[in-house]
């Protein structure tokens, strides 16, 4: 090993109580030349106040069009071991649950062929292996996909389906109204081809939350946001309500008065909910999970179009399917047909690098709904249009 370069700026980031990524880099650097050069190059970035990576670069594994992000140093003379420094995205298990065996075997592969540095996890949800050379990529994939137990596959990158992700779900959360883990696993397997072989106008993301608390931020971070919900009445255990009162919970101030539709009331004794006006925001249930539970007629609301700001400003998903039954282990045919219909319409009409939300805006919701064969309903909007610029289909007017 060569002597590690001095990193006075980064050393400052080893101070303080929060665990330090610099310490982690140094741990990796102690054993790995590319990690060492990464540290050096990052120190240079801290001096120069800019990144030292070249623009993009395509690398990959056989049979796939994505899963690896190519990265090349713009100062390879100084840091030859990060001349190539590609990232490998490994598809995480649903809900980011692991046993140590599974994790350790990834570490072992990465010790052999990579920098020893990772992101657990990437923003999309992948287990991200940070930095390897072009020549190792295929080997890494060969090895992880051949693990005897828990073999692993690559996640998405490029103009394809990105690695779906989901919240802790019914494995760990009483609020889960759909089996997020099963659904995420099922969809990921169903759409392996879309995930690995870019063929769309741009990326497309799916995120699944078990309830409207949306713990995977699906509404903001995915083209398809699937959130558990219910249609019948909230179940109230009045005894448990009393227990909360006895425990000193300010039900009026912290629960009832914060109900967005003011459909709750508490007379000091009994809690009443006007369920017809409840919009299932989860607040009362969150605050009093021992006393309140969602109803039994459960399914999901599906919102389409969420994405980051470029080109048209950030978008959050829009309600397209107010309710869909999604029974665990059912095969989810209706959902799959819905997704296929959306992708097909998007693939046919979308321009390069146009996300589905942007396309819906460009062609109009009415064309999207026709394209996927759904009827307009008021739940899709917070309010009807205010401008008078609406269209008629040719068959709706009298032709000469």
């Amino acid at each position: 090993m060569t002597e590690a370069k001095k990193t006075p700026l980064l050393d400052e980031l080893e101070k303080g109580p929060w665990p330090s990524f610099v310490t982690e880099m140094k741990r990796a650097a102690a054993a790995n030349l590319s990690a060492q050069d990464l540290l050096g190059q990052l120190e240079l970035s801290y001096e120069d106040k800019k990144a030292h990576w070249k623009h993009g670069g395509l690398v990959g594994v056989m049979g796939y069009g994505g899963g690896v992000i190519g990265r090349y140093s713009d100062v390879p003379e100084q840091f030859p071991n990060v001349e190539h420094f590609h990232t490998v995205r490994i598809n995480q298990p649903s809900g980011w649950y692991y046993n140590t065996k599974a994790l350790r075997q990834v570490c072992d592969v990465w010790e052999k062929y990579g920098s020893g540095l990772t992101n657990l996890h990437g923003s999309t949800g992948d287990l991200v292996l940070l930095g390897t050379k072009t020549e190792h990529i295929q080997t890494i994939f060969n090895e992880v996909s051949n693990f005897e137990e828990h073999p692993m596959d690559l996640g998405g990158s490029g103009s394809n389906l990105r690695t779906p992700s989901c919240c802790a779900g019914p494995a760990r959360c009483e609020f889960a109204m759909i089996d997020t883990l099963d659904l995420c696993h099922d969809l990921t397997n169903e759409f392996q081809d879309y995930l690995h072989r870019p063929m769309w106008p741009y990326k497309s993301k799916i995120k699944i939350s078990g309830c409207p608390n949306d713990c995977v931020a699906s509404i903001a971070r995915s083209d398809f946001s699937i959130q558990g919900t219910w249609r019948d009445d909230i179940k109230i255990d009045q005894e448990a309500v009393k227990a909360y009162v006895a425990d000193g919970l300010d039900i009026e101030g912290l629960v009832v008065s914060k109900c967005p539709t003011k459909c709750m009331s508490f007379d000091g004794n009994e809690l009443t909910i006007d369920n017809a006006n409840c919009t299932r925001c989860m607040h009362c249930i969150n605050k009093m999970c021992k006393a309140l539970r969602p109803g039994d007629d459960r399914g999901a609301t599906i919102l389409v179009g969420g994405k980051a700001p470029i080109l048209q400003g950030a978008m959050m998903g829009w309600v397209i399917v107010p309710f869909m039954k999604l029974e665990s282990g059912s095969g989810y045919e209706e959902l799959k047909e819905f997704l296929e219909a959306c992708w097909e319409w998007w693939d046919e009409n979308g321009k390069t690098r146009e996300r589905i939300g942007e396309l819906i805006l460009r062609l109009g919701m009415r064309n999207f709904l026709r394209g996927i064969g759904r009827e307009p309903i008021p739940q899709m909007v917070v309010a009807p249009r205010a401008n008078p610029f609406f269209f008629w289909w040719p068959e709706e007017v009298i032709q000469d």
Binding site: L10, G16, P17, W18, P19, S20, F21, E24, M25, S45, Y46, K49, K50, H52, W53, V61, M62, Y64, N91, P93, S94, G95, Y97, Y98, N99, A102, C107, E111, T118, L120, H121, S123, N142, E143, N146, H150, A168, P170, A171, R172, A176, L181, C184, Q192, H196, P212, N213, D214, C215, A220, Q227, P260, R280, C281, H283, K290, A308, P309, I310, R353
Partner: protein, 354 residues
Amino acid sequence: MAQARTDIGPPLYKEMLPPVILENYGKWRYHEIVKPGVLVHVSESGAKLYTVRAGSPRLISIFFIRDICDLADKYCDGYLRFTSRHNVEFLLSDESKVDPLIEDLKAMGVPVGGTGNSITNIVHTQGWVHCHTPATDASGIVKAVMDELFEYFTSMKLPAKMRIALACCLNMCGAVHCSDIAILGIHRTVPKIDHENLHKLCEIPTLTASCPTAAIRPNPKLKSVDIKAERCMYCGNCYTMCPSVQIIDAKNDAVSIWVGGKISNSRIGPRFSRLAIPFIPNNPPRWPEVVESVKKLVELWAANAQPGERMSEWIERISWEKFFELSGLEFTDKHIDDFTLAQTTFRSTTQFKW
């Protein structure tokens, strides 16, 4: 060596779940926060699952992963998970192991917290570590901010949850746009064009189409493009499409701060974060001005919000004009939207506060 097996998909989550979960899957009845960083979920069967949430820098070495695996083996029968905000969660069925685990974590320098009315981990991106378009670093700022806000991670004394996120450029891989506080790297100057090489590396129609404000026009004479400077707002999308349009400008790249976003549907619905501070210079290694600004915002909110009010709920109750007054932040023309939905942010009523 074996050839890759393609399209096998992710490992099956069921193999990753401890017995207590497999037995009580979908049967959890309620949860309690035992103390900061420790949850207990109680099943209909009466079974209990303890979760210990630990902070992680996210950019971690395999040695860190092995360390936490050791702890999971020791206390959790080898099971653990990660959260959507990159924390580590240890899943225990034996209550008596909770405190010893926490002790071991402390010894490792890993804090426990991030539950309930706390500031949990900062969702963030690559920055200078591994991206080509960043306007700032990611991990460095996150570390500096979390050091300063540490007490809010390990306690639950805030009025409500506080979610902070960072993205190092406008691509916003951290999807920071709906955060209580968002830290966003911004470029501030018009990209410089390498006219000589552009036509070799880039397709001009794709490039002109990439600009959200139609600032890019073909320059057929140079077989290149020109950028109408007064239309460019430095988003960098042209650079994403074409390496000959250089957006990075170390002298001017900077950090901006956004507030009042929200994701959950709880109470008020999801909200976008909105511009609070348009410019803070990049000041590595510890970005003291960014840290200070974030801290002030957290503490202003903490001191003024009513119990249960997220940042957005507090600001909407008091009004943005009062927010600017209380925070002492300068209100500039940058705060006034001029993109496509601008008019929906203008004030079409005489109702406002002095």
